[in-house]
């Protein structure tokens, strides 16, 4: 990526009830906050309807803000089989939405995300929210799900920037 180019990254924290989203713009090492929020589905609706709500609302956000990357946290340890099943449905909706909109979809572990944002892997929800506020220069910490979504977007940006630096170093050494 050349220094003048900017990339819009959409981070997602999926859930059948609440799906957090966070948009940032990366230009070189600089990150700019664009938007964040939470898609809330109708708790009285059937599961297929709720999955479509997630899909449609994320599609609208993608159309409006035109990100080129979607970053989502991977799940290694779910509480139990029933909550894992629910989470799987919501994640599936979000991932498909990104794929069908032609975005590059990347996944990061919770450890990678927390390390990228707070500096260590066992950070609390509140620490993530506070660090997001500082890193993106926000007037106040974002809502919990939106903060997690912004965190995975930042994680993608950092890993992308790191890859760029490694490639540039390799190029210089090759000369």
């Amino acid at each position: 990526m050349r220094p003048s180019e900017s990339t819009r990254i959409l981070g997602i924290d999926p859930g059948t009830r609440r799906t957090g989203y966070g948009l940032i713009e990366q230009q070189g090492n600089r990150l700019r906050h664009i938007e964040n929020g939470v898609v809330i589905t109708n708790s009285k609706a059937e599961l297929p309807v709720r999955l479509q709500e997630i899909y449609c609302q994320l599609s609208t956000i993608i159309e409006q803000f035109q990100p080129v990357v979607m970053a989502v946290e991977t799940v290694f340890l779910a509480k139990n089989a029933q909550s894992a099943l629910k989470l799987g449905h919501a994640r599936g909706s979000a991932l498909l939405c990104g794929m069908n909109a032609g975005l590059a979809v990347t996944e990061f572990s919770a450890l990678q995300v927390k390390s990228a944002v707070v500096g260590y892997g066992k950070a609390s929800k509140e620490q993530v929210q506070q660090m997001i506020r500082v890193l993106l220069n926000l007037p106040e910490p974002p809502q919990e799900d939106a903060a997690d979504a912004l965190a995975v977007a930042i994680c993608h940006a950092h890993s992308h920037a790191l890859n760029d630096r490694l490639q540039q170093t390799a190029l210089r050494r090759g000369r």
Copy 2:
């Protein structure tokens, strides 16, 4: 539903690796087999790519055969959290595909499906396959995942036919 009207039902047995599908046509109490098969995803591909493969292939099947209903089995007991998460992703893909194509999406428990097809809830995979062969007058039992998909489609047809009969009885009594 009037006796002359026919309904095409698409049954789905979702999985990240193999998703069974089965199409039947219901006309009154008669069921006719239309098509069955298995969508197999690339085992070396990343999860988002595999979810899109399921979505795209099911979309093609819906376009080709024009069902009006999608029936999918609900999951109450997954083996463990990790397999539940995987299954959730695949189910999410299938349900979304049905919703986005404008189909009525219905869900049935494994108990309902086996009871509708074999007559009791603890039937084996082989018993389901054999009963599907008999009920749909097929030359040989369908592949396991396709048989499960046809079974949930038949379950929908039976519950639909039962609802019709109940409605007709209520109408006659009301006269």
